[in-house]
Amino acid sequence: MNGRCPSCEEFSVDPPRDPEGAPILRLVGVDKVLDGKKVLDNVDLDVPRNRITAIIGLSGAGKSVLLKHMIGLLRPDRGQVLLDGVDLCNLSRKELFETRRRFGMLFQSGALFDSLDVFENVAFPLREKTTLGEEQIRERVQVFLRKVGLEGAGGKFPDELSGGMVRRVALARAMVMDPEIILFDEPTTGLDPIIRNSVLCLICRTFREHKFTMVMISHDIPDIFHWCHHVVVVHDGKVIEAGMPEAVKSSVNPIVRQLVEGDIRGPVHLM
């Protein structure tokens, strides 16, 4: 365990690795039923401030639903989602939209607007949510495109980009409003190993530079244990393990063990 990005030696997410301190985001006793199925079952979860939290689990375990609750895209049937102690469920629609300015989110597909080029995609939240002038917007977008290594790609449209480039544009768009919390829904799924590592590396570098609070759904096991501060394991809509990477990795819970080791034999039968 070296606390370094596995893709490059120059970037490191430590110190510190302990997730202590007041959590920025808390889920308390959250239940959610979708299409008659209980997707979240009495979930209690703390997201530590200025740390990277990884959420891992099998496909269909409820990870994405959990992430959508954190930003108020879904409302729990029961329980609370507290952002700095304020329950998102009690906010009016207008207040919720204002609160979401504290978040950035990177979707699995990137969710770029097809009709806008790369530059306009990144500029979009600035145009919609700020009073910045055209020159300031241009400067700011260029800064963030440079950060993600896409300085010359501003004129391209999403369908002209590779999967890795789409995620990098999406990351630039998520960061451009200078949020406090960035949520990542499987940012590396479907990418080849080199592009996957470049995206992970970019996330590490972004964390080092900005110290955002980051929550990431990931299947990059065991790599994820090397560079996140806090790991949450979700199974069948329940949080079955949460804590520092070392603690989760050495958990005796058989499901966690099976997940960490990627063993097809164990309590979870897929075939």
């Binding site: 939209f97 609160t99 979401r100 979707f107 699995q108 597909s109 969710a111 097809d114 939240p125 949510k129």
Partner: protein
């Protein structure tokens, strides 16, 4: 057994009520965001171009042939009663009061409504609508309101164009092909068509605009389950809009007559 049947019926009734509620709330949100500023001028213009300008060709074509066939049928029917001279009035009244607003609405539903549903549906399954929400942007204000304003502007204008082209199509067949006197054709039209007929047509086309954008954007907005879901949403948007236009036409006709 009886309990299970009752449970099934109750479940379906609740589901239907929930869907109706969702449709109603969506309409209320769409109307609210359409009326309350700020207005998105550039987006509205873009949608006027898409819904209005790009539908022009199909509207002109449909209108011309509708007017021509009305004139052809009308001529042979009226001749049985020795009233061919009333052909101009018959064509104009049919178009202005009924066929103009209804056929324009149906053509716009087929051409632009289906595209609205598909575009918004693809945005839904591509997580672009969620993305708007996460940026704190109200997707109804961003996506639905400009389309609503554009439809309310474009469809009545398209209806007016439909009426004029349809009348001219009727004139071509009635006067140029069947030899009716042009003075009689337009003379009876002038005395028969009143301002209230035109105004009723405008009310109808405004109501149909609302129905088309409401249904098509709603179906796109709540698309589920990938490409198949988009296909299903698009089909049902067109079918439901068309049926509602026809039902709305009957209701409005009975109210406005």
């Amino acid at each position: 057994m009886l309990f299970r049947v009752a449970e099934g019926v109750g479940g379906r009734a609740l589901g239907a009520m929930r869907s109706l509620g969702r449709i109603g709330i969506f309409l209320a949100a769409a109307v609210w965001n359409t009326v309350v500023p700020p207005y998105r001028g550039r987006d509205i213009l873009k949608q006027v171009h898409f819904i209005g300008v790009k539908s022009l060709f199909v509207i002109v074509l449909t209108a011309a042939f509708t007017g021509m066939v009305l004139s052809l049928q009308g001529f042979y029917t009226l001749r049985k009663f020795g009233s061919e001279g009333l052909l101009g009035a018959a064509v104009a009244l049919s178009l202005v009061r009924e066929l103009g607003p209804v056929l324009t609405a149906l053509m716009v539903t087929g051409r632009a409504g289906s595209a609205l549903a598909a575009e918004i549906g693809i945005m839904r399954i591509g997580e672009q609508i969620d993305s708007l929400e996460t940026m704190g942007i109200d997707p109804v204000r961003f996506l639905v309101a400009p389309r609503m304003v554009a439809a309310l502007v474009s469809i009545p204008l398209l209806t007016a164009i439909f009426d004029v082209v349809g009348i001219y199509g009727g004139y071509l067949v009635g006067v140029k092909l069947l030899g009716l006197d042009a003075g009689r054709f337009f003379g009876h039209m002038k005395t028969s068509v009143e301002l209230s007929d035109v105004v009723n047509g405008v009310w109808k086309s405004l109501a149909f605009s609302l129905i088309i954008v409401w249904m098509c954007t709603f179906k796109g907005f709540y698309t589920e389950r990938g490409a198949e879901g988009v296909s299903r949403a698009t089909t049902s948007a067109v079918v439901i809009s068309s049926v509602l236009v026809l039902i709305g036409d009957y209701v409005l006709t009975s109210v406005l007559l």
